[in-house]
Assembly symmetry: D2
Homo-oligomer: 247 residues x 4
Amino acid sequence: MTEEGRAKAYASLQAHGIEGLVLIGGDGTFRGANIFFKQYNIPAVGLPGTIDKDLSGTDFTIGFDTAVNTAVEAIDKIRDTAEAHDRIFVVEVMGRDAGYIALNSGIACGAEDILIPEIETDIEALLEQIARDERRKKNVHIIVVAEGDDFGGAIDVSNKIMERFQHLTVRASVLGHIQRGGAPSYADRVLASRLGYAAVTALIEGKTQVMAGIVHDEVVYTPFEQVIKGTTPISRDMQEMIKVLAS
Amino acid sequence: MTEEGRAKAYASLQAHGIEGLVLIGGDGTFRGANIFFKQYNIPAVGLPGTIDKDLSGTDFTIGFDTAVNTAVEAIDKIRDTAEAHDRIFVVEVMGRDAGYIALNSGIACGAEDILIPEIETDIEALLEQIARDERRKKNVHIIVVAEGDDFGGAIDVSNKIMERFQHLTVRASVLGHIQRGGAPSYADRVLASRLGYAAVTALIEGKTQVMAGIVHDEVVYTPFEQVIKGTTPISRDMQEMIKVLAS
Amino acid sequence: MTEEGRAKAYASLQAHGIEGLVLIGGDGTFRGANIFFKQYNIPAVGLPGTIDKDLSGTDFTIGFDTAVNTAVEAIDKIRDTAEAHDRIFVVEVMGRDAGYIALNSGIACGAEDILIPEIETDIEALLEQIARDERRKKNVHIIVVAEGDDFGGAIDVSNKIMERFQHLTVRASVLGHIQRGGAPSYADRVLASRLGYAAVTALIEGKTQVMAGIVHDEVVYTPFEQVIKGTTPISRDMQEMIKVLAS
Amino acid sequence: MTEEGRAKAYASLQAHGIEGLVLIGGDGTFRGANIFFKQYNIPAVGLPGTIDKDLSGTDFTIGFDTAVNTAVEAIDKIRDTAEAHDRIFVVEVMGRDAGYIALNSGIACGAEDILIPEIETDIEALLEQIARDERRKKNVHIIVVAEGDDFGGAIDVSNKIMERFQHLTVRASVLGHIQRGGAPSYADRVLASRLGYAAVTALIEGKTQVMAGIVHDEVVYTPFEQVIKGTTPISRDMQEMIKVLAS
């Protein structure tokens, strides 16, 4: 970060005979380190490593698939309880700026509602749906909410529901850091293997200051400056599905 | 619960030609229903169904093994994160009056501290241990706490740590209802099969108002009145192990 | 299949008031049923349901992701044993005509060799590699083979190795039907939800005799006649990776 | 094994300053090593480590619980396939001399038949049951067989069934070495922790040439000479359950 720190880091690379770097992270990681790479002319290739899947230049990011599967397993278990006890559960999954984990785990688990930062939350519509469900005796209701949703997290949503429906049992569950651990799924392992191979190939071929990504099943390289967070649009059909679920 | 309710329930059993009942639950379930069984002379056998494993008359209760395995899988995932980021995690598992889930999941995951209702929590000793660990640069610290611990839950414990060590990153995680769902472990399935078989056998043989349990790998029957919650002592060696872990 | 059978099937649809069909399967399913749909003018949309992922008109098929994750979990467990005992394991995964499951599970598990129908198996090269590994004291060797590989299945490969290296312990393991069961992964559930939604939308819009698929994250419809098996090429970088692993 | 080998092993222990040993294995391991321990007067404590659970002096052996859970997960997946296709599956699980894995995984999965070494297999009765099932249109049939069953393994059983019922689809599945790997269950981890703690305690207290085991939830020590394989009887109620399942 500081001039002095960069000098020290470079000396350390020299001392260990390191000629190139592969770094894993998001847009911030790449841009932050890039000052250093440029100043000392160090070959460097980046890999998209974020569970949020919100980077340009790649269809997938390392960790996303595993995180969603972990969330799905947890929500499945919560549904078992919900069905045994007729309850409303609000489950918060990771995603500070992006709703991909919420969107995919919610659709996978047949959530009644999915609240994500990319779509403005209409809390009144949600409350009306609960009222409607109650009238037709359907009291199992799973709401999946991204931690960065504009209305708030699981606690905020469940408080709002309890305020309106004081006789209903509402539980908030924040899945938290379990989403960052566990044995990686095959898709994440294959992705990491392909991108790792692509990074080494790139360094050998003299490519530098680029992120390796997979777009339409082929490797592509994007300059660090052009890797931007949060621009991946949600597919049109998935946007429609959210609306259909919530009606 | 009421005289009228019991009459209605009995009429319903008569209408469906039901001659005996098998009920799954804890001491409260058995005692509550027993008034009804006695009044109407209904043969009934109980199965110990509580994830807390705190019933007399049986070495295991249906659901406990699955719940602990679920907690262990979650804590393993949290440890992955803790190790990547040098953090203190306080994980709350189920157990309002009993610490068996905390004790077993904590030992299974190599938790640095395990806080359970059966042993008075010495929070000062825990804080001193964290200070000691910090001096020797060991900053990964997993604390497993039963929801019914005398000091409080995960939020209380993490608040106390953060108050003392303001520079450390401390995360609280409440596992919650995922512990009540999921595919049952073999041990729970075999237990449920054995006890279900024992219940039917008992009813055929005319036994009634008893809970079927497994003690030392054999089926035993305990009268409902004698099924008591929370009397199973923690094995001496496991008590010692908690102390060794925390030092 | 017969004229009479089709007439009966049509009568049955009429009797139940069924106005359109959604069918899940492979190219054979679609083509076989198409005679019937055309004859009786029945609106029908197909979904790609094969664990082999070898259909044109879609990037993914329902079941593939789950099957590969199941294979990976099994191979991970086998590797635990191999590492404890210094052994060669030949693991056969599904894939009669296509090597996608073998390719992806093999790369995900760091298999030393991957044998697939799409690439001619050079058994001599494999035997030489084992000899080389043995000289440098590396005796853990996992070979993943697709059931439809041109050289043969796991039994054939392990027999060949044992014939050459009579002092080595070689085990063949045929994963078999576990690959067709289990809780589906999030990716398979989301895929099935998206395609199911696309099928219903298509029927409403009057599209018929087409398979709904996902290509580059968007829904596309391919006429049944054009859905062809086994034409998806293996990405260039993955072909190279197989060679690198085996050297 | 040889006089010379033992001398070398002792020198190695001396060189590393090792004063006592903890070994994990079965009765053969303990007895084999005991010659060495006695000759050189080396303190040694054994832990029961066999997935077969057939050692005296302990209610559980390390690895058994995990192995059965792994078998159950696999058989569950096979049942998914069997139910989709109306098939007979013969699944072979580990257990050369003992049927505990087959017995427990079979009951846990609701197997129609369980074949174990401890009970003589009546293959004619099994074939008659299949004929009976076929008459009442029940064609899903899971048979769990221990590898050491007196009639033979999965291949033998499935061949016998196909010989008699040539129109039925019968599949044999040998689970094999997946049963020896994977993340250990909580019960195995706690068992290993308790026994490890007991072994260290024993060495400190001067106990030697004993195996530490858990009997009725308390630690017990059994001299190596008295640790005998294959004497644990199958509980009476589980024997009866096998018969009930198969009728």
